[in-house]
């Protein structure tokens, strides 16, 4: 469960995030839409503890992000826009490394199962990351999130630069994760993808969450229209 109450972040005179109040329940996928600089990434950074909020609170799984920066990270997983990972390590090794940092020690079979769940077979898992496409790297990122048994997942532009097939695979994966009770917050530019996976869609402008819509209540065209009118 991801929650924010009056979350605000100011850089001098500029307000990057303005009074955000938000709850994302387990199993819910919340998509943030908005132009560059609308505050999407700042929102994620506040939840991750990378940025100290100027005021307001953020909780992950009921714990305050500022109070407990280490424990909250036990419950969350994060997938940055560019997931290059370690090029000289194989997929399995990257997965194992991050899992162990998160405090999990898995057998090889279990690691393979996570890869399998993320849509990668054993053969690919043994290859070095330097040979992976972006879509495959994203899947390793998802596998890392799954292996961590995260309760909250943060995604920053995960589908940019993916081909339609990879993007579609990714959406499916995300929905399955949500089904298992993960709360997902995803910042994106991709209106079509957002409408497809999101339970709810929020549109941001100048640091404010301007409107929230049910994902299945709108068509992609309607959503685009609202978006263009908002920003």
């Amino acid at each position: 469960m991801i929650s924010a109450r009056h979350l605000t972040k100011k850089y001098g005179d500029h307000t990057a995030l303005d009074n955000l109040t938000l709850d994302i329940q387990p199993g819910e996928i919340f998509c943030l839409l908005g132009q560059n600089g609308a505050g999407k990434t700042t929102t994620i950074n506040c939840f991750l503890g990378f940025t100290q909020p100027s005021s307001g609170q953020a909780w992950i799984h009921g714990e305050d992000v500022v109070q407990a920066p280490v424990t909250t990270k036990k419950h969350l997983a994060y997938l940055p826009e560019v997931v290059m990972l370690y090029p000289n390590l194989s997929g399995i090794e990257n997965l194992e490394y991050f899992s162990r940092l998160a405090g999990f020690r898995y057998e090889r079979g279990e690691l393979l199962a996570f890869l399998e769940a993320a849509g990668l077979n054993e053969q690919i898992g043994q290859r070095r990351l330097s040979t992976y496409s972006k879509g495959m790297r994203q899947k390793i990122g998802i596998a890392i999130a799954m292996a961590k048994k995260a309760k909250a997942l943060f995604l920053d532009e995960p589908t940019s630069g993916l081909d339609p097939k990879a993007s579609n695979d990714f959406s499916t994966l995300l929905k399955e994760l949500a089904k298992e009770g993960v709360a997902v917050l995803m910042a994106t530019h991709d209106i079509f993808r957002a409408r497809e996976v999101a339970t709810r869609i929020g549109i941001m402008r100048e640091g404010k969450l301007v409107s929230v819509h049910q994902g299945d209540a709108l068509t992609a065209n309607e959503l685009e229209k609202i978006y263009l009118e908002t920003v």
Partner: protein, 474 residues
């Protein structure tokens, strides 16, 4: 945590082709440096052996001849060829003893000044004369400097460390793994510290595994090797910290590479040249061109003082008759000369001191400036360790001169007593010709002190910049 990082750092490096290439390169340089050390040592051993053999043969022949003369089997008319005459055997041109200087044990580690150090010191009437193969070495090679292990460590090791560290953090950022790391439920500091430590442990292991066998093969000996390894690791650690500090500047990898190379260029290549220039400016050393002239001028003065000095000689030795110059026998003449020797030495001591003092203050100043660069601190330490620096050379020179004095006094006493050299005397002569062990200079703790200061300085940005680093990661 540390073990996990160690395991993964090893994976990263062992799968990095460039790292292996660098390792191969550094290893090749070390082996070549060690090979050069071996060659030098072998050549010097040979030269020393040749000097010893020649000397042994000479004294064996003299002793045999002296024996025949003592036993009355042979007659020798010319006193200047007489092997029972102490003056002939000990001090004159065809005679004289040669003190052979054993090579410094650590010279394969750091050649320092040892390539200019003579292999022997001839003790003659006119004073000591250096006998060194360096007289015949190609000066162009001497000028280019030695490719020894010290060169590999001081100049090339930092490049190895830099090449494998310059992007330690910037690559994490560029790969996007930094944010992923920071979103793990471990304190960022713990990850970084253990990651850095692990990287350094792997690097140290590689450097040690290359250096220790090379040093042993070069024939440096376990004790010296251990000390040199310690110094090498400290030096490597400095460069490691330097590279990390550059990483803290939050720039991209290309910037880091340029900055690290710039630091290396400044500290390792430019600073020594700059220090030498400064030392030359602040404490210029006069050309020795004037030296021999000054000695000759002093000699001319001395000639004028001679009659008065000889007055004291004959006063002190009433048994000796003072004759006019054309009535003097060679013995009369040499007895006077032997007496004058020490006084002449004292007379020219000021001139020697003048040049030596200038040279010493130049060297002292240059040494003070070594603190400007850890490369110079290490070079200073290694040459000291190897016993091939100026101090060691001067200490050895002191031993040689005191031995030469003993030698002179012994023969002068024998000659004054008009003794004939016999078998027992020859045994005594041999014992005075024992090879001289090179002197080690006093180990300075300066090197250690400055390493600590340098390391602390380099570690400061790590300690202070930690928080900012993590925040700026995103």
């Amino acid at each position: 945590m540390f073990l996990l990082q160690l395991q993964y750092e090893w994976k990263h490096l062992s799968r990095n082709g460039a790292a292996w290439l660098l390792l191969l390169f550094l290893g090749g340089a070390m082996v070549f440096g060690a090979y050069n050390g071996r060659q030098r040592a072998a050549r010097q051993k040979q030269a020393v052996q040749a000097l010893k053999t020649a000397q042994d043969e000479k004294f064996a022949a003299l002793e045999a001849e002296a024996d025949s003369i003592v036993k009355g089997l042979k007659k020798m008319e010319q006193w200047w060829l007489d092997p029972t005459n102490p003056l002939t055997v000990g001090l004159l041109r065809k005679g004289g003893g040669t003190l052979v200087i054993e090579p410094a044990p650590g010279q394969a580690l750091a050649v320092g000044m040892s390539d200019l150090q003579p292999e022997a010191y001839a003790m003659l009437f006119g004073g000591g004369a250096a006998r060194g193969s360096s007289d015949y070495d190609n000066p162009a090679r001497l000028a280019l400097g030695a490719f020894d292990l010290a060169f590999v460590i001081v100049y090339l090791l930092p490049l190895f460390v830099i090449a494998l560290t310059y992007n330690l953090l910037s690559a994490e950022r560029e790969q996007g793994t930094l944010t992923l790391l920071l979103s793990q439920p471990v304190q960022g500091r713990r990850i970084f510290v253990s990651k850095m430590l692990a990287r350094f442990v792997v690097l140290s292991l590689m450097a040690t595994l290359l250096f220790v066998p090379s040093a042993i093969w070069a024939g440096i000996g376990a004790g010296l090797t251990a000390q040199a390894t310690g110094a090498t690791l400290l030096y490597g650690f400095f460069w490691f910290l330097m590279a990390l500090a550059v990483n803290m500047l939050q720039q991209n990898s290309a910037f880091n590479a340029l900055a690290c190379i710039g630091a290396w260029l400044l500290l390792v290549v430019v600073m020594p040249a700059l220090v030498n220039m400064l030392a030359e400016k602040v404490h210029p050393v006069p050309s020795r061109a004037g030296y021999e002239n000054a000695l000759r001028t002093a000699d001319i003065e001395f000639e004028k003082m001679k009659p008065a000095i000889l007055d004291t000689f004959y006063d002190a030795n009433p048994a000796l008759e003072r004759k006019p110059d054309d009535a003097k026998s060679p013995r009369d003449w040499w007895l006077e000369e032997l007496y004058l020797l020490d006084i002449r030495k004292a007379h020219v001591a000021d001139i020697k001191a003048l040049y030596e003092d200038k040279s010493q203050s130049h060297a002292d100043f240059a040494r003070k400036l070594t603190v400007l660069s850890p490369a110079l601190v290490l070079h200073d330490y290694l040459t000291g360790l190897a016993g091939t620096n100026r101090d060691a050379q001067l200490a050895t020179q002191e031993v040689l001169e005191s031995k030469a004095q003993t030698w002179l006094d012994w023969f002068a006493a024998k000659y004054a007593a008009d003794a004939k050299l016999q078998a027992a005397d020859y045994a005594a002569i041999r014992s005075m010709l024992e090879p001289v062990q090179p002197k080690q200079s006093e180990g300075s703790s300066n090197g250690l002190l400055w390493s600590v200061i340098y390391l602390t300085l380099m570690a400061l940005p790590l300690i202070l910049g930690r928080r900012r680093q993590m925040m700026a990661a995103i």
